[in-house]
């Protein structure tokens, strides 16, 4: 096994035997995803950081319940998202997502000119504005799917709902987003 990074499953098996360094490495791999998911759920960076930390500590204490050979990612996300939802209840805020300016975005060779990139940035801002006008549960579904790039199974874990519910919520959120965009165009 020397010479190659350990897989997540190997790390979690070592952690189950009490290897803190292995668990630290696992946390490092997922801390960004966990923090972003928590941020989308609870809407506050401080709370998201605490929720992620609390979730990872809870997961450490629950390692004995983790099914051997299972993927840790959805399990960790579920625990972190639970912690984030608990924090959200008493101080609900919406995650403040900002669209980066064209010059801050990685160079995209498919964009033909700086002017086209500026136009694309404006269109992205319009789309984000439409997402921001959605109801919170619709906005969360779209943000988790598209901005945190979670799978439907992971969204189900993060939202604390069955997978079928995720499908219907996402579909409804996309319908409403289309309607908001259409409204905006009609008003404009």
């Amino acid at each position: 096994m020397e010479g190659r990074p350990l897989t997540d499953i190997e790390l979690i098996e070592q952690a189950k035997r009490g290897d803190v360094a292995a668990y630290e490495e696992l946390v490092r791999r997922y801390e960004e995803l966990a923090f972003r998911t928590a941020y989308l759920v609870c809407g506050d960076a401080f709370e998201a950081r605490d929720a992620a930390q609390e979730g990872f500590l809870r997961a450490w204490r629950a390692l004995h319940r983790f099914r051997p050979g299972a993927e840790p990612r959805p399990w960790l996300l579920q625990i972190v998202a639970n912690a984030a939802r608990n924090r959200r209840r008493s101080g609900a805020r919406r995650a403040n997502l900002i669209v980066r300016a064209a010059q801050d975005r990685p160079i995209d060779p498919s964009v033909p000119s700086p002017e086209a990139e500026v136009l694309a940035t404006e269109q992205r801002r319009e789309l984000m504005s439409a997402v921001d006008r959605l109801r919170e549960d619709d906005r969360l579904a779209i943000s988790l799917r598209w901005f945190a790039e979670l799978s439907e199974a992971e969204m189900a874990a993060a939202m604390g709902v069955p997978r079928g519910t995720v499908k219907s919520r996402l579909s409804r959120a996309m319908d409403r987003l289309r309607a908001v965009i259409a409204e905006g165009r009609a008003d404009g």
Binding site: V20, A21, Y23, E24, E25, V27, R28, E31, E32, A34, F35, R36, Y39, D44, A45, F46, E47, A48, R49, D50, A51, A52, Q53, E54, F56, L57, W60, R61, H64, A83, N86, R87, R89, S90, N96, L97, I98, V99, R100, D104, R105, P106, A120, T121, Q123, R124, L127, M128, V131, I142, W146, F147, E149, M174, L177, R178, I181, A182, R185, A186
Partner: protein, 268 residues
């Protein structure tokens, strides 16, 4: 306008995802490992064992975690602090396990509040509408300070001795009202408190707040990278902190919670 097709909308969202800026991800792994190694995350130990606060005062999930103090450690504490999950509108309350050395008087006296300006100038500079206490006997503040951090700036209104609000013998400050925007993450003010300081959840009108009383505590500012901005370190007294209308407000210098609430209730 024609409706976007499913595929076109999905493609637009996928493209947007590359431009969405999340707050910077803080380092979490090291803190988690540190707590596990220190035994504070022992299986089934629970999060309520922070020890320094009665359970009923702790908000929601509780995490006690190690926090490197960076520059502050060199200046003040040379030790490790334990942060708890108390956050209110851009202000964190952090428990230190060691007694800090006294601050250099120059830091307390001058750098901590920012630059002194007139109230009109403060109104021009602040990125929010400054609110002032209308309590009879206070009158206008004796000094007004502006600090450009965090976003929107921080305004400190300072009074000398007033009836019911005697001045501190060292600083000659009777009362301070501090205001800054609540939505300043990832930057934030951090209040470092010691053993002997009580943090009590309370109400200020309809808003939740904290009464931080007794002991020695400091307030300083951390920038977006988490670094302490040393020009903001200031020794502070008993304070009432709350959030209202997008602002975080702090009344410092009132001897009792009732007196602080009286000032708070008059702020418009």
């Amino acid at each position: 306008m024609a409706e976007r097709s499913d595929l076109a909308l999905e493609a637009a969202l996928a493209d947007l995802a590359g431009s969405v800026r999340f707050p910077a991800t803080p380092s979490i792994a090291a803190g988690v490992a540190e707590q596990i190694r220190s035994g504070s995350a022992h299986p089934r130990a629970g999060f309520r064992g922070a020890g320094w606060l009665p359970r009923e005062w702790l908000p929601r999930g509780r995490v006690a975690r190690g926090l490197a103090l960076g520059l502050l450690a060199a200046i003040l504490v040379a030790g490790v602090a334990v942060a708890v999950g108390i956050a209110i509108g851009g202000l964190r309350i952090v428990q230190s396990t060691q007694t800090p050395s006294p601050l250099p008087s120059g830091v307390v006296a001058s750098r901590a509040f920012g630059v002194e300006v007139s109230l009109d100038e403060a109104r021009r500079r602040a990125g929010f509408i400054i609110q002032t206490p209308g309590l009879a006997g206070l009158g206008p503040p004796d000094h007004v300070f502006y600090l450009p951090s965090p976003r929107g700036g921080t305004i400190s209104l300072v009074w000398g001795a007033r009836p019911g609000y005697p001045a501190d013998t060292t600083s000659r400050i009777g009362l301070v009202v501090t205001e800054f925007r609540a939505d300043v993450a990832p930057e934030y003010w951090e209040k470092l408190i010691n053993t002997g300081t009580r943090v009590e959840r309370t109400q200020v009108g309809n808003a939740a707040g904290y009464w931080v009383a007794g002991g020695t505590h400091f307030i300083f500012f951390r920038d977006a990278s988490g670094q302490v901005v040393d020009s903001t370190i200031r020794l502070v007294g008993t304070s009432l902190i709350w959030e209202r209308g997008g602002l975080t407000l702090r009344v410092e210098g009132a001897a009792t919670l009732a007196a602080a609430r009286t000032v708070a209730a008059s702020i418009r």
